[in-house]
């Protein structure tokens, strides 16, 4: 199964594979030193791993590689990337090319997630503050 990694040089061990029914907030010490976590999409319509991914990245501060396996298709890439996935197992034709384009498919995002992208709300605030005139002396 072809594997696509955002960072091909990153370490892949120690690795931890989770079922999409696992409660990631209960992992505790099992997370220590882990460099690769493998999450699963039994069907692409089963979106539990998106929540697992965000909790791992944003709540638990996990910074290693986060891999999507199972039913992984290119149309889900914008969502997968925003939730923090950094590698993908997929045999779908065109996946690699789509991965390259996926980050820029949407230049506007509404929700703050762990990817650090400024949301429309944040940009609007910035814009308002930038146009607030300085008080006259």
């Amino acid at each position: 199964m072809p594997l696509f990694r955002l960072n091909p040089k990153a370490p892949e061990a120690p690795a931890l594979t989770l079922a999409n029914t696992d409660d990631v907030l209960q992992l505790g010490a099992r997370l220590h030193g882990v460099k690769l976590i493998v999450l699963n999409f039994p069907k692409f319509t089963d979106g539990r791993a998106y929540s697992q991914a965000r909790l791992l990245r944003e709540r638990l501060g996990y910074q290693g590689e986060l891999r999507a396996t199972g039913a992984v298709f290119l149309d889900q890439l914008p969502f997968l990337l925003r939730c923090g996935f950094s590698s993908f197992e997929s045999d779908q034709k065109g996946f690699g090319e789509a991965l390259e384009k996926a980050r820029t498919l949407f230049s506007v995002v509404y929700q703050p997630v762990g990817d650090g992208r400024a949301t429309a709300a944040e940009l609007r605030l910035k814009r308002r503050n930038a146009t607030v005139p300085l008080a006259a002396d």
């Binding site: 998106y50 929540s51 149309d75 929700q111």
Partner: protein, 557 residues
């Protein structure tokens, strides 16, 4: 773009819509070429509002918080003409459905919608759907705060949310800003009710797990008072809990109401509050300037003081019986004395309920421009609403609506029927609903009789999915299929008005299509004979119970 008195899309909103249209255009291309299978494509088209029905694709266009400018309505008329058969159907969730769309035309239709800041994002699929509100928002006398502000806040947060695009099942949110809940918040996956606490602060009551369909349920309150700035954190906590714990094994047990039922309201509250506690002061907390910027856009149009007593209108009311009945049934008090809220009845006698031709849509847009600040609302009852009409203008509005065929004085009456598209259109249906609605409507067409019968809400669904909201009809009618024959199950006593939510009780064995009118006749006769002064149909039912109705109906059919 002419001034609107609701949220105006800025370049960020427009860019997002345009990018989604382009993504979808490419997805359609890949489907037509065979690169994508139907299984892979289906969720992608559903989240752009495109269903495959019996005869064609159906496009469900989002009308956020049921609010339209006249310009948008004209565009809908144009799209209906160009890409469809020149008519559309306004739904119980404040959307518009076009029934004859071609897949190959869908990207162009969506691009045309984008020209007027409209879209079909997330009107279907296992995602957060169009957030609905009270159709009298901003105009009603009893409003605490305009719920549409919050619908827009939630709309943005939920659109293309990367974590919640593959939920166990669809997710419907409704918001009311009034104690008289016109948004049916207790039969939604999440209902939000704005209210003012003793300290004078306005916040949300959060209700979870309501719904109709196979297993109707009334939502439970998991949070009495949620401060406004924490709305999105709380919603994210609920959605994450649902995404992780909702059932994935059985399509019919996958809604959040099942989860609440299975783990209990208390456990649900615990899970949500724990998650909420962890994230409430994160980036999801709404900045006051963000709230203000959106709220300001919903500021009502300047409505100059006008006289509440207009001699010309009084005179007409006394002279013209039809106008008097129309005033009584189709207009509601506005928060300002010199104005009324006017409902255009899309239920002319014998017509498919909730449908409007392109010409009619354009006519409504013209009336909105001339008499209602260029604004129209879509109600939950498949009618259209003009929120701010000067009393002096009521005769002109009445005359204009009459020319369109939308002045039947039947709003809230027995022929103001809500019906889903049913087996004539819908691949999910077991029985037809529109012909049943037409027969009932024709039978009770006499206006004087309708007004004598009074407020009576008949709601018809063609299958258990309950898109016609039959569970909350005073008379609910559910079409079922038994051995290839259409049968109709009647229930009584459902309600979603005036803050009251009740699920109807089934009366007895289902009746055949040709007996439905007789059955309804028998129900009405029972009521008319038993009623006490001031009682509506549903009040009499609550007082005397089902038995008298049951006896009469089953003697007649």
């Amino acid at each position: 773009m002419p001034d609107t008195h609701f949220y105006r899309y800025d370049d960020f909103d427009r860019t997002l819509i345009a990018e989604r249209v382009e993504q979808f255009r490419d997805q359609v291309r890949r489907r037509l070429s065979g690169e994508l299978t139907e299984e892979q494509f289906k969720p992608l088209r559903l989240t752009n509002g495109l269903y495959l029905q019996l005869h064609a694709y159906m496009l469900r266009i989002a009308i956020p918080y049921g609010t339209l400018s006249s310009r948008q309505l004209r565009k809908l008329a144009e799209i209906a003409r160009k890409y469809d058969r020149g008519y559309g159907h306004f739904t119980t969730r404040q959307n518009l459905q076009l029934n004859w769309i071609k897949l190959e035309d869908a990207p162009d239709a969506l691009a045309a919608l984008a020209e007027v800041d409209m879209h079909a994002m997330q009107t279907s699929g296992n995602v957060v759907r169009n957030v609905t509100a009270d159709h009298f928002a901003g105009a009603a006398a009893d409003e605490i705060e305009d719920p549409r502000i919050w619908c827009e806040v939630v709309r943005q947060w939920s659109t293309l949310h990367p974590e919640f695009s593959f939920l166990p099942r669809k997710f419907k949110i409704a918001i009311t800003g009034s104690p008289n809940d016109r948004a049916a918040v207790r039969v939604h996956d999440i209902g939000l009710r704005l209210w003012r606490n003793e300290a004078g602060e306005v916040g949300f009551e959060v209700i979870v797990g309501g719904g109709q369909g196979r297993t109707p349920a009334i939502g439970v309150t998991i949070r009495d008072f949620l401060p406004k700035q924490h709305l999105l954190s709380y919603l994210e906590a609920i959605l994450r809990t649902y995404n992780l714990l909702g059932r994935r094994d059985n399509l019919y047990k996958a809604r959040i109401k099942i989860l609440v039922h299975e783990i209990g309201a208390e456990k649900m509250r615990e899970e949500v509050e724990a998650e909420y506690a962890a994230m409430k002061d994160s980036a999801l907390k709404l900045a006051p300037e963000t709230i203000e910027a959106i709220a300001n856009q919903f500021a009502p149009p300047p409505l100059p003081h006008r006289s509440a007593i207009v001699p010309e209108v009084e005179r007409l009311r006394l002279e013209d019986r039809d106008f008097a009945l129309w005033l009584k049934a189709n207009t509601n008090p506005h928060r300002l004395a010199g104005y009324r809220i006017v409902t255009a009845s899309l239920k002319p006698a014998g017509a498919p309920p909730g449908d409007a031709s392109s010409v009619q849509m354009e006519g409504v847009a013209d009336i909105a421009d001339a008499y209602s600040q260029g604004e129209v609302r879509v109600s939950h009852e498949q009618n259209l609403v003009f929120p701010h009409v000067v009393i002096e203008d009521l005769p002109s509005v009445y005359a204009a609506l009459k020319r369109l065929g939308f002045a039947e004085a039947n709003v809230g009456k027995i022929t103001d029927i809500i019906a889903c598209p049913g087996l004539d259109y819908c691949a999910l249906a077991n029985a037809r609903s529109i012909p049943v609605a037409q027969r009932i409507s024709n039978h009770f067409a006499d206006l004087a009789r309708q007004h004598d019968i009074g407020d009576l809400k008949i709601k018809i669904s063609g299958c258990i999915n309950a898109c016609g909201h039959h569970h909350v009809g005073h008379i609910g009618i559910l079409g079922v299929d038994k051995n290839g024959v259409e049968l109709y199950q009647i229930s009584l006593g459902g309600d979603v008005d005036f803050g009251k939510t009740a699920i109807g009780t089934i009366l007895g064995p289902a009746v055949t299509a040709d007996k439905v009118v007789e059955a309804v006749d028998a129900l009405v006769a029972t009521y008319l004979e038993a009623r006490e002064k001031g009682e509506r149909f549903v009040d009499t039912y609550r007082r005397i119970g089902a038995q008298p109705f049951k006896e009469r109906v089953y003697a007649a059919v």
